[in-house]
Symmetry: C3
Subunit: 166 residues, 3 copies
Amino acid sequence: MAGVMTLVLGGARSGKSRHAEALIEAEAAPWAYIATAQAWDEEMRVRISEHRVRRCEGWQTIDAPLDLAAALATPHPALVDCLTLWLTNLMLGEHDIAAATVALESALADRMAPTVLVGNEVGLGIVPDNALARRFRDEAGRLHQRLAVRADNVLFMVAGLPMRVK
Amino acid sequence: MAGVMTLVLGGARSGKSRHAEALIEAEAAPWAYIATAQAWDEEMRVRISEHRVRRCEGWQTIDAPLDLAAALATPHPALVDCLTLWLTNLMLGEHDIAAATVALESALADRMAPTVLVGNEVGLGIVPDNALARRFRDEAGRLHQRLAVRADNVLFMVAGLPMRVK
Amino acid sequence: MAGVMTLVLGGARSGKSRHAEALIEAEAAPWAYIATAQAWDEEMRVRISEHRVRRCEGWQTIDAPLDLAAALATPHPALVDCLTLWLTNLMLGEHDIAAATVALESALADRMAPTVLVGNEVGLGIVPDNALARRFRDEAGRLHQRLAVRADNVLFMVAGLPMRVK
């Protein structure tokens, strides 16, 4: 039987990561934390390090700024945090997003343990002036739609609380 | 008996149009596609043409960049795609939005067939610097509230999935 | 027994204030309207005055641009409108947000009458270019999460209609 897949969407500081961590910690340890963040600058290094400190024992971190599919080969319950930074890394590196999405979907189909994927909802403001920002929110929306089709659960976070979408 | 009215709201690339099309296609054909988009530039022409290709047989397109009320006189199940571009056209053309809204409400009250209206939720980001953008999101919010009062169903789309608001 | 606490979140022009007023007006009068708005300019003065006119008899206005905790000492059902302007006032005045939040939480814990707090959801758009805007949406998100934990009801407004989050 395939592992249960949960997609956790929400805005900035809506409690996505914390809720996603709690979902995985309800499973038997060890747990894989698949980190897509790249420490481009000091602010990012601090943020990443704070996230690590918050997570308790039982977590193994796998850095996967680009190759999410390979990271998901872990047999353990896995948290992908987050899709938004992964997509940013793909776009900034001019990688093939369509191909990477297909590889991700294939890796998800092969998962035997639970998987929780976190993504930022960025499409609910005024249309951005910036063309790259417009393209980014289109790509993010498309990715979330594709993953939502195959997810068992889709949650929309508001003020730290999950609303069930699926 | 009046036709059922459904308001489909959501962010960019949240699957609003696709879901709205499916709602109408569950009714007996033919179906009216009331298009508010104006092809200002090549990018827009491509986008409009892609939308047409996606829709299967049974759809009749009515272009209504400004006069939604007249277009809604069609006796067929009708999809208005979308309120956001209609409001943009009214604002850019300096038309009377209050009068156009009253005419729209009156046309909706006269509908005997099902109607689905699609609108972009744009008010959930940081307050825009741009005064026109601020006015636009105020107008859009007011319009959605007025239509939601008379709608039988209001849906909020997240990642291609509908959340029922009403 | 402590008074019921309700947190009403939503985007611009989503009908937050109107819904919050209706919740309080379902209680026995008099009602306290705790206003955090400061009339920096004419546009703001007009907006504030329009809000006052809309509210019917039975409302007592308490101005509290900064000291929400003191204003909440009122024994009457109280509406705080809104958290977003309060946070803006704290940030622009370089006040201690953490200390003010603790004081607010303590005042809320002491309430014996119902309390409704209104806040703008601002984290669902593209990451703002502006560093102050980024910090603001982080602070707003954190504040909403902390209040949501202790709230009895959390509502997310869409087109004037409440979705129950908690």
